[in-house]
Amino acid sequence: MKAQKKDKQVIKSNKISRRTLLGGMVAAAVLPVNSIFAKHVQTGPHIAPEPPEDPTKTIGPGPSAQGKRSTFEHPVRKFSETSSRSPLQDFHSTITPSDLHYERHHAGVPAIDPQKYELLIHGMVERPMKFTLAELKRFPAVSRICFLECAGNFRGGKEELTPQEILGLTSQSEWTGVMLSTLFREVGADPKALWFLAEGSDAAVMTRSVPVKKAWDDAMIVYAQNGEAIRPEQGYPVRLLLPGWEGNMNIKWLRRIELSDEPYMTREETSKYTYPVKDRIRMFSFEMDARSIITFPSYPQKIMPGWVEIRGIAWSGRGKIEKVEVSTDAGKTWQDARLQDPVLSKAHTYFRHLWQWDGSPTEILSRAVDETGYVQPTLRQLAEARGTAMGGYHMNPITSWQIKTDGSTLFKPE
């Protein structure tokens, strides 16, 4: 199995190098054509001509079928065999470009034909029903901006870590689809149903049990992400969206929902996504607790003495971010950061704090406070509350950056 995974990796890197090579060849072919005809030639991928000395003296390429990033910008996900992380340090606001949305899946990304796609809803309902993608799109639609976050989102342990490496398993999109409550009315959900099972059509046939009250609150069946069809890695053609709840429950490639009077105790909600709390194991932690991270300055960036705008994101699965406090003296004093409007419920909220750095070494930190009054805890507070063997799920400690005399920034592992 390992060999097979490695093969996939090799194939992936072959693809990348082949494409890069192709891009290079096209660019080489285009370079000498420095005329109005250039736009007719420049239809291939990854055209990166040398920019002219003075762009006002050269006619540029014309319109094209599909836009591309500036050839000077290279934001990328950092990926392993099972997940990829969003480059949080490259974002200036809170919508994650869809191709940079984090991924976590358990048996690869399935290819699903939207023409053959159907969603089955059955169990404790009056009418077990199937809906095609076209039928789902006929229902009244709703759009909502909210974050997704893997419940295992947090890495520490060394100083040379970027925000992407520490906390890159979170992203934010504007999702569009139908409220699950609309579909539950359509099938005649039994009021006695307390749970529903959501099941994916990937090779993991991923399943999670979800309380029915989430369906009557804000759960959605979504087919669009940032205005276009959902990306394959995010569940094309249809996924479950449970705003504020741990990523794993937002079942991708959704094929089936079964209403029930009991939870199913699937592998993912028992042997995974649970964690030791003192001498017990806590399960069914659905909401993602409030947290924040400073994305600028961060490793490996360097700052200069003078005015520095500290920037970052904060979010809570329990509602709106009430405030974000920033400390520039290693946690001795705290000041309120400015929050970017609009502050949305269960959404990444961008914060900024203006700081005059005098060049002396220090530590900068941020802590989020949500509308329930929850204050993002320190790692020590979490350890005191849960014991030291608390595992890797639902860990949301305050993170701290060390600023060195030369302006370099390093993560502070605890």
């Binding site: 229902f139 090779a203 046939v205 399943t207 105790m265 329930t372 009054g373």
Partner: protein
């Protein structure tokens, strides 16, 4: 509670809109459903056969377990040919071997490491459900129900939870009490200032 307030506000908004002023913005109705028909009539009834094809889940009370049965010895043979390459030979010391998949056998003490079936899985039915839906990794969903019963039996035996001669079927599997079950607690946090 919050939903009720939202619904209430939206209803009030609707009433105001209709009775008081046409200048009021149209209130969002996506959470209250009051302006919706009871049904849209989109979609179609699913057939029994269609439901049976996909309805493969198994609950702790045994609901969803199929006919058939398995035993420890057959399970060990299947494990050796279809599972061992990734999960390791449980008759050897796996503590120093780097496996491509988690080890599945532990003792049954809660505090011991690594976490595996014996010391961490709260329900035996979960084993059947998970193995049937997605294992083996390179041929997901290819095992027969009897094979799944047998592998489940072998893994429960290897974790010292059942005896070697116990047969597993839809009647016996839900009755098995897992050692870790008593350790599990539901998260009852509701937000607010307390860190727990």
């Amino acid at each position: 509670m919050k939903i009720k307030i939202v619904v209430g506000t939206a209803l009030l908004g609707l009433i105001l809109f209709h009775q008081v002023s046409a200048q009021q913005p149209v209130p969002s109705t996506h959470k209250n459903g009051t302006s919706y028909p009871s049904r849209f009539g989109f979609g179609r009834l699913a057939t029994t056969a269609e439901i049976a094809l996909w309805d493969i889940d198994v609950r702790p009370d045994g609901k969803g377990l199929p006919a058939g049965q398995g035993d420890v010895l057959k399970g060990k043979v299947i494990y050796t040919s279809k599972c061992m390459a990734c999960h390791g030979n449980n008759d050897t010391d796996l503590s120093k071997i780097k496996l491509p998949a988690p080890v599945l056998v532990s003792d049954t003490l809660a505090k011991s490491r690594p976490t595996a079936i014996g010391n961490y899985w709260p329900y035996a039915t979960t084993l059947f459900d998970y193995i049937r839906r997605t294992m083996p990794y390179n041929q997901p969903g290819s095992l027969t129900d009897n094979e799944v019963y047998s592998i489940t039996a072998y893994l429960l035996y290897a974790n010292k939870i059942i005896k070697q001669n116990q047969l597993l079927n839809a009647k016996t599997l839900p009755g098995i009490v897992m050692p870790a079950k008593k350790l599990f607690i539901m998260d009852d946090r509701k937000g607010g200032p307390e860190v727990r």
